[in-house]
Amino acid sequence: MGVVAQLFDTVEQPDFTPEDLRVAEALVFAAAEPLETSAIAARLPDGRDVGAIMSELQRQYADRGVNLVRAAGRWMFRTAPDMAWLLAREEQEKRKLSRAAIETLAIIAYHQPVTRADIEEIRGVAVSKGAIDVLMEAGWIRMRGRRKAPGRPITYGTTSAFLIHFGLDAIGDLPGLDELQGAGLFDGKLPPGFGVPQPDDADALRPDEEPLDESGPLEQAWGAVSQTDAD
């Protein structure tokens, strides 16, 4: 130990015990909010130099992963600033599609462009909003446009991300009825007239589709009004 340090120790005889450090440490740690120096002092024996205690604690924690910091005159422990990267971490969580979602996806892929009502008609059960949302989130389906029909329902189709994920070069590579049967995916007899459509994901809208954002004939008539409403 150097002369200066010895001198330092002699001069600055600490006004606290190791137990005081433990008490201050536990108090700040357990507190739900940053602690005032006076709140710490209140729990220590009279005459303790709280400033010196906190300085010593601060020194002990200075190089650790956790630091004792003072903000707005109050004490708190914080993780060291250089550890921030640890505390927010992107994690990719693999999720399996639900049966409803995968069936919905399959119908969209083969029958696109389809509306929600079309999917329900094919599946024979209601399509939950969740299934569509999940497929949108996965980036596998997109809203193509609107069907020119009452209610102007949205039409859905697949995306290029869909093709990439499922290793398809083009939507036409989806197997047809013969191939599906050959792969043993159908069991038993199929009813006469049963067919699998030829899928088509071309960007161009079909004759019965209109763009998403454009108003239909109904809105055209009331153009000014409906725009005000939408706003």
Partner: protein, 267 residues
Amino acid sequence: MSETTVQEPEFEADRAAGEPAFKVDLDGFEGPLDLLLELARRQKVDLSRISILELANQYLGFVEAARKLRLELAADYLVMAAWLAYLKSRLLLPAPPKAETNDAAGLADALARRLRRLEEIRRAAELLLNRPRIGRDVFARGAPEGISVASTPVYVATLYDLLSAYARQSQKHARAHVRMKPREVWSLVDAREALTRLLGRSEEWTELDGWLIEYCVDPKMRRSARASSFSASLEMAREGLIELRQESAFAPIYMRAAPKSSRSEAA
């Protein structure tokens, strides 16, 4: 015990002469086994050496005293009393044939074991409850920053999943529905077409029902035709192509093509 109604919390149990009297607060007991354990504890510290016969006597005396004081005892206590009275009689019998000796002693033994087991679990419970407990003796960090894990879901499905799902549902649906005869309906498109054609002919107010029935020869189609053309007429009215009029609720609905001027205004 909630079932045990206690008018007087403390009473003096009937005791054999010469033995010290004691007070028992019935309110504090959790059933007959608990009471027996308390009685046993007063008898001896070491539960493995208590006299079951003496314990039975004490318990029965207790129940007797409670009755005298008109304390209402829960059924559990009375069942135990009956059982102990039976056990006592067996224990007091002069040495019976071999097999039966073991029976009475075995019953007494089983009771002693049950008491010891309860005692043990209570000791364990005490040890457990006296551990430094989070939120009582020891505290977690008061204000943790938390580690925010922003998890981006990555959906996985194979081509096989996709194809088998398609095959499964389409086959199921085909089987379930292919034999159903399609319902005969007059679609909205049909209705709209018919209305447009009709409007070309008529500048006058026309009764909707009138031409409808005229148009639909097949009576089976009437309901569907009425619904569809009503919807279509509403839509066309909104588009400014036609005008609708109805005198009162359920009265016939009249329609006519909108005058050319109002049509251009709407556009």
